[in-house]
């Protein structure tokens, strides 16, 4: 398979290239010494690579993988090519949860970022339930337009509540809203570990639904007829998806377009079968975000671009191209 090999290549590239230029030989030497547990000789490049660049690259990969597999699963479940955490309003719901947790100092003792993460997950799930309930009431067929329109309205609503909370909160929250716009800077190995657990658990659950999601493509009734427990699968996908998006938002803020575009790109590569599409989205999303972050870090070095600028720019162009091709054929 080409994709995992490409991911490895991109990971190596992203650790090797950065705002500070470090010769490839030195990068290899530093990583090799770290792997063998030998003491580092260069005390400037070693911490740059091992303690800031590597964890950031790994987080970028995990967040990209998580968002994309969620996007792929939700697009399949809702039979809606525009479904994704950001378009459905799930991400903005999660960020509202995160902001409230920070504003009211909600913490889980002993769990790093526990409070923010739990609140983000809870609000992500609640947002999805609210949007889908409203959508069912308005339009039982759950048409693309209804859901996306509700997602847009819900996003506006949550962001106005966030603004309201920020207006009455202190300066700290002011800064946090910037962070909620998406940033991978300053992420460490604790974040890597939390994200890895989330991707393995919730991502694994989504991957396991591939066969059922294929049945959904023919309609819920057909899925039911071929023996799919429609209710269970729906619940599983929605809960696992919201949880993943919640964790990602708590770690890195809202990063747009990754979850929306990657599954579409992957359909070109592996086709619409979810048993292949979901793993491909997982890997493809990691590649996309690692590359995007690499661009954000290096393109205007020593300055840094917000990651959302890069993903939206690239994602929007890709999406337009896909949309154009799909409509013409």
């Amino acid at each position: 398979m080409v994709l995992p090999a490409l991911l490895v290549l991109v990971l190596v590239l992203a650790v090797g290239l950065g705002s500070v230029a470090i010769p490839p030989g030195d990068v290899v030497a530093v990583v090799w010494r770290a792997v063998r547990g030998e003491p580092q000789t260069d005390l400037v490049t070693a911490p740059i690579i091992l303690r800031t660049r590597l964890p950031r690259v790994l987080c970028a990969g995990l967040v990209g993988a998580a968002l994309s597999v969620c996007g792929g699963a939700m697009q399949g479940l809702l039979k809606n090519p525009l479904a994704d955490g950001t378009t459905l309003g799930v991400s903005s719901g999660a960020s509202l949860g995160a902001v409230l947790a920070i504003a009211f100092g909600f913490a889980v003792p002993g769990v790093p970022f526990g409070g923010v993460m739990l609140a983000a997950i809870a609000f992500a799930l609640a947002s999805l339930v609210i949007i889908l309930t409203l959508a069912y009431r308005l339009d039982a067929s759950l048409s693309t337009n209804t859901i996306i329109l509700l997602g847009v309205i819900f996003t506006m609503f949550t962001s106005s509540v966030v603004s309201l909370v920020v207006t009455f909160a202190n300066d700290k929250l002011h800064s946090i809203t910037f962070w909620l716009m998406g940033s991978l800077a300053g992420l460490g190995y604790t974040h890597v570990a939390v994200l890895a657990v989330a991707v393995c658990a919730a991502g694994g659950a989504l991957l396991a639904c591939g066969r059922e999601l294929n049945a959904f493509a023919l309609g819920e009734d057909n899925a039911r007829h071929v023996g799919v427990d429609v209710r269970r699968v729906k619940l599983l996908v929605l809960i696992a998806g919201s949880a993943l998006i919640g964790v990602c938002v708590a770690m890195s803020g809202v990063i747009a377009f990754v979850g929306l575009v990657t599954p579409h790109m992957m359909r070109f590569v592996v086709g619409p079968n979810h048993r292949r599409l979901l793993p491909a989205s997982l890997v493809g999303g990691a590649i996309f975000l690692v590359l995007g972050d690499l661009l954000a870090r290096t393109i205007v070095s020593p300055r840094e671009l917000p990651i959302g600028v890069v993903t939206s720019f690239v994602g929007a162009i890709f999406f337009l191209a896909i949309f154009y091709r799909a409509r013409r054929t």
């Binding site: 950065g18 705002s19 500070v20 005390l43 400037v44 911490p47 740059i48 091992l50 303690r51 800031t52 660049r53 964890p55 100092g105 202190n170 300066d171 700290k172 800064s175 946090i176 910037f178 962070w179 940033s183 800077a185 300053g186 460490g188 190995y189 870090r297 070095s301 020593p302 300055r303 840094e304 671009l305 917000p306």
Partner: protein, 322 residues
């Protein structure tokens, strides 16, 4: 303000003029003062507009924090009838009515205070807002200071508008004296090559932002013989933390705020992964300025310079000022 060097003020004032004050161009037009009580004022503000008042302003609304500080510093604090919401210094200012500023500027709110002068900054304010106020018959003066020299111009301008030109001159002399004194003392003791400093304006958790050249921190650092590690960037810029580690500053100045929970800004920098090799972190040479001393174009730039001088040359690593 330090006044302990009054006997040296004349001599030092001269060298201050050479050090930075020489670029200072006073707002032309100056003060046209008539005899007796009916003293009219006509000055050019820092947007090049002519501001004319029948008499020195006695009811002033200032939207920018630094302009409020200047008004209080020149003794016009009692004339301030409204302040922008970020104007939090001096403490007396907190009893003054708050008005919205920046994009949320509320013209009606300002008119309701019946000021005879509104002072706005170009940084936060739309030009149209100034025009709107002018259309309502209220005199508007625009301030815009990017350097210490331009800050003197602002002080001079506000002094002229409030009929306190002498007090404004005294504040400027004071600042110049402090800068000249600190610069001379720094020059005497600073090592060659210069020590380097990194100015952190936003902490890593919210995206790392550094002050580059063209910032007040950079200018004050120069006076104190400190080289900004991000001199290649202009004003403020988001940077990758790799860059800080590689550029390895001898000192770090952070303006991060502490909100009473979690690590303080200094503790958080000391605890950052990968920063262990940075000289400033190894030596715990981190200063936390929390009073906006070096971020506002006002009289307290001199206080900020004094604190930075004390930190680098006198006290060494200090506890954060809270």
């Amino acid at each position: 303000m330090t006044r302990r060097l009054t006997p040296l003020v004349a001599a030092i004032g001269l060298s201050a003029a050479l050090l930075g004050g020489c670029q200072s161009t006073p707002p032309d037009g100056g003060v046209t003062s008539g005899a007796g009580s009916a003293a009219g004022v006509s000055v050019t503000d820092q947007a090049g507009r002519t501001v004319t008042l029948d008499a020195p302003a006695t009811k002033v609304v200032a939207l920018t924090a630094s302009d409020v500080e200047i008004l209080y510093a020149i003794g016009a604090g009692a004339d301030v009838v409204g302040r922008g919401e970020y104007a939090d210094y001096p403490a007396e200012a907190e009893s003054v009515a708050v008005v919205n500023s920046g994009s949320e500027t509320n013209i009606e709110q300002i008119i309701a205070l019946q000021p005879d002068l509104v002072i706005v900054g170009t940084m936060a304010q739309d030009p149209e807002q100034a025009d709107q106020l002018a259309a309502a018959g209220i005199a508007v003066a625009v301030t815009d200071a990017q350097t210490i020299a331009e800050t003197y111009d602002t002080i001079r301008l506000i002094g002229a508008l409030t009929g306190r030109a002498d007090a404004a001159a005294a504040v400027i002399d004071d600042m110049q004296a402090t800068f000249a004194d600190l610069a001379a003392r720094a020059q005497a003791v600073a090592p060659t090559p210069h020590k380097t400093i990194y100015y952190e304006v936003s902490p890593l958790e919210y995206g790392l932002w550094a002050a580059g050249s063209g910032s007040f921190m950079d200018e004050v650092g120069h006076l104190l013989q400190l080289d900004n590690v991000f001199a290649d960037l202009s004003s403020w810029a988001e940077v990758d933390q790799e860059q800080v580690i590689q550029r390895n500053p001898d000192y770090i100045l952070t303006v991060g705020m502490y909100f009473g929970d979690g690590p303080t800004p200094i503790e958080s920098i000391l605890g950052r992964a990968g920063w262990e090799s940075v000289t400033a972190v190894k030596n715990r040479a981190i200063l936390n300025l929390t009073g906006d001393e070096l971020s506002r174009p006002g009289p307290r730039l001199a206080d900020g310079a004094q604190k930075l001088y004390d930190f680098v040359y006198a006290d060494g690593p200090a506890e954060p000022t809270r």
